[in-house]
């Protein structure tokens, strides 16, 4: 492995995070990761069958990052979800059928065929769809947080971005801006060791997490393959954010286990690097953890359940129509401005908080 991953407890055992994650929460985290993996696997076969136009990107092996992070966000929080982060959409409540329809460019997809594959965000679930230009969404998330602060609301924004994206100016403008204004925004750097074919050594001379302090915000490197560690890091960052403590930079160390997109055979990645990370598959990890509980979770049943959901969603998506060409010019301009709606926030902690 090119970089060292700070080992978390999860790597060597099955710790509990008392008070924060119930058994049901921990199962839910696994479910979100499984959903992501199975939806993406299905999408990949649909792609191979020629049913997904354009290209196809996935986040195989990185499921813990988006599942854990999104799980820590409240319904009224806002997210910009990136191209390796399907689990965050799942956590926010986007139905698998709409995701698969999205990949296939159907009228029922999240963007109704207007944008492709992972370029979506469900506005009714508090998410802004990413643009290709990386990492533009860091500024959008910063701006959402700015509005929360201006209005004195205890809410936070979160965005993901990759190791390669740290080289671009918008990365800097966002971190600096958020630090100067002490905004409630959480920046999740998803370090999967490569930007397309380019290794991190060509993107930065020093790990970018080192910059957090120099911008004036806490920074933490987390085992991005441990969904509970991700959850916990974001939970703490969010708590700080909504309490007025400003932004946080979290680096999730993980590995892109597939090519950049479907066409990429990844010849540039050393086999040993892949092999080492394969040992640490985030879904395996969480499954082992749940199986070892005093009252073990039936992960096989869970898997079957998710698979059935995805199968059903595939049917639904395949049955959905393509968009009507007559509508191709509609909607360039808005007739009215409806702000983002709230997302699903399944973490039991929110219910407990609400009950207090």
């Amino acid at each position: 492995m090119a970089t060292t991953v700070r080992p978390t407890a999860a790597a060597d055992g099955v710790p509990d995070v008392p008070g924060h994650l119930t058994r049901a929460d921990r199962t839910e985290l696994l479910r979100a990761m499984l959903s992501m993996r199975l939806i993406e696997e299905r999408a990949m076969s649909l792609y191979r069958q020629g049913r997904v136009p354009g290209s196809f990107y996935d986040g195989f092996g990185q499921e813990a990052v988006s599942a854990g992070a999104a799980f820590a966000m409240a319904a009224e929080d806002r997210l910009c979800i990136l191209h390796r982060d399907l689990a965050a959409h799942v956590v926010r409540g986007v139905e698998p059928a709409r995701i698969l329809a999205q990949y296939m460019g159907r009228a029922t997809g999240v963007t109704r065929g207007r944008d492709g594959n992972v370029h979506f965000g469900d506005k009714d679930r508090g998410c802004v769809g990413m643009v290709s230009m990386l990492p533009d969404m860091m500024l959008v998330a910063t701006g959402m947080a700015m509005a929360f602060k201006l209005r004195g609301e205890a809410r936070a924004a979160l965005t993901f971005f990759g190791d390669g994206s740290t080289s671009r100016g918008d990365f800097h403008e966002a971190l600096n801006w958020a630090a100067v204004q002490r905004l409630p925004v959480i920046f999740v750097l998803e370090n999967n060791q490569y930007a397309y074919s380019t290794p991190t050594a060509l993107q930065y001379a020093v790990p970018p997490i080192e910059r957090a302090g120099a911008y004036g915000m806490p920074g933490e490197t987390v085992d991005g393959n441990d969904v509970e560690a991700m959850f916990e890091a974001v939970r703490v960052a969010r708590e700080r954010a909504v309490a007025g403590g400003g932004p946080t930079l979290i680096e999730a160390q993980t590995m892109r286990m597939h090519g950049h997109a479907a066409h990429d055979d990844m010849r540039y990645v050393p086999a040993e690097q892949l092999a080492a990370w394969r040992e640490r598959d985030p879904i395996d990890l969480q499954e082992r953890r749940l199986k070892a509980l005093e009252e073990p979770v039936d992960v096989a049943a869970l898997r079957a359940e998710v698979q059935a959901e995805v199968d059903a969603a595939t049917e639904t998506a395949l049955a959905a129509p393509m968009p009507d060409p007559a509508t191709a010019r509609d909607g360039v301009f808005a007739e009215e401005a409806v702000p983002l709606g709230d997302g699903r926030a399944p973490w039991s902690g929110f219910a407990r908080e609400a009950a207090r």
């Binding site: 769809g129 700015m146 201006l150 918008d170 966002a174 909607g331 808005a334 401005a337 702000p339």
Partner: protein, 345 residues
């Protein structure tokens, strides 16, 4: 008061119909300032952000005194970061705010280009999510601002789907179109021509009102029409005053809005006059004027009694030294000559 309608703000206090009769004389600059102030009073979602807009009141003093009334939160001095300004404004807008961004000079929007064109402009089409931001661009030359303080970048944004682009020429329109722009659910690129700031005065209604994003006949005529916007409207009016052109009756059409472009008004003027000069301060190639000319050549070909003559800045950076700058910017003489030649055609 063509195109001006007194409308209540969507939330908060609004200038009602009762205030309609009241008018005050102010400069173009004061009118912009007044419009912004009134709309900030009327709608608490509106805030202004930019470099030095706070305590200093902005490089051109549009927000002079605003901090005292609205506080530094709603009159926000930002870091020196144009991509940041546009990008964070988009973020604030999608969660319910109505940000008004000031570029210190229009030229600097090049540094926020991507956020404006790719994030703001395409959002609604892609995601069905409205981005109600207004980006104020102090634009234009004529005062030795040199290559980086004189640009007219509107055509870039006309060529970027999803952005509205407006360029008022009078104080009344400047105020009404700014308010209209702030209330518009879409990203609006608002060009305010620096050379008009203190040179142009006019009567302006008090309170809040909206001016349509449509063209306006600045002077009626039927021998020839000069189509212009922004500062060039004044150049056109001066160049085509009846005494200037041996009594020819020249219409001046002030486009006011470039996206949407008031195609019907353009075609109506062409049908009436049959001769057209398209006047543009921007660099000629692919300018707004090129679009207007191409529209006419396609849709009003049969109404034309002569070539569609364009007057614009040649494709050079705007030079600093006065004799050079005057040689490239379209002036009264060049417009007069173009009209004279075409009238004689």
């Amino acid at each position: 008061m063509s195109g001006t309608t007194q409308t209540p703000a969507t939330t908060g206090r609004a200038g009602g119909g009762a205030e309609r009769a009241t008018r005050r004389t102010m400069t173009y600059l004061q009118a912009i300032s007044d419009g912004l102030r009134e709309e900030m009073r009327a709608d608490e979602r509106v805030f202004v952000m930019g470099e030095d807009v706070g305590v200093f009141g902005g490089a051109f003093k549009v927000t002079d005194g605003f901090v005292d009334e609205f506080g530094t939160d709603r009159v926000m001095d930002t870091p020196l970061a144009e991509s940041g300004i546009v990008g964070t404004a988009v973020g604030a807008a999608v969660v319910g705010m109505r940000p008004v961004c000031e570029m210190q000079f229009a030229d600097f929007i090049a540094c926020g280009f991507d956020q404006l064109v790719n994030v703001a402009g395409k959002m609604h089409y892609r995601q069905g999510l409205a981005v109600p931001i207004t980006v104020r661009l102090p634009s234009g030359g004529g005062f030795s601002g040199g290559p980086f303080h004189s640009q007219n970048p509107e055509a870039w944004f006309m060529h970027a789907p999803g952005l509205k682009v407006v360029a008022p020429s009078t104080p009344e329109d400047a105020k009404g179109m700014l308010i209209k722009g702030i209330r518009d659910p879409n990203p609006v690129v608002y060009l305010e021509h620096k050379h008009l700031y203190r040179r142009v005065k006019g009567e302006v209604p008090t309170g809040t009102y909206e001016t349509d994003f449509s063209a306006r006949i600045a002077r009626e005529g039927d021998d020839l029409v000069v189509i212009a916007y922004g500062a060039m409207v004044h150049t056109a009016l001066e160049a085509t005053a009846p005494e200037a052109l041996d009594g020819a009756s020249v219409e001046v059409l002030d486009l006011r809005s470039l996206v949407p472009l008031d195609e019907e008004a353009i075609l109506a003027s062409v049908r009436k006059c049959s001769k057209v000069v398209v006047l543009d301060e921007a660099n000629a190639t692919c300018a707004a004027g090129a679009q207007v000319a191409s529209l006419i050549a396609e849709r009003a070909f049969e109404d034309l009694d002569g070539p569609i003559v364009r007057v614009a800045t040649p494709d050079v950076p705007i030079p600093f030294s006065p004799p050079l700058e005057q040689a490239v910017l379209p002036g009264v003489e060049r417009v007069k000559e173009a009209c004279r030649d075409l009238l004689a055609y």
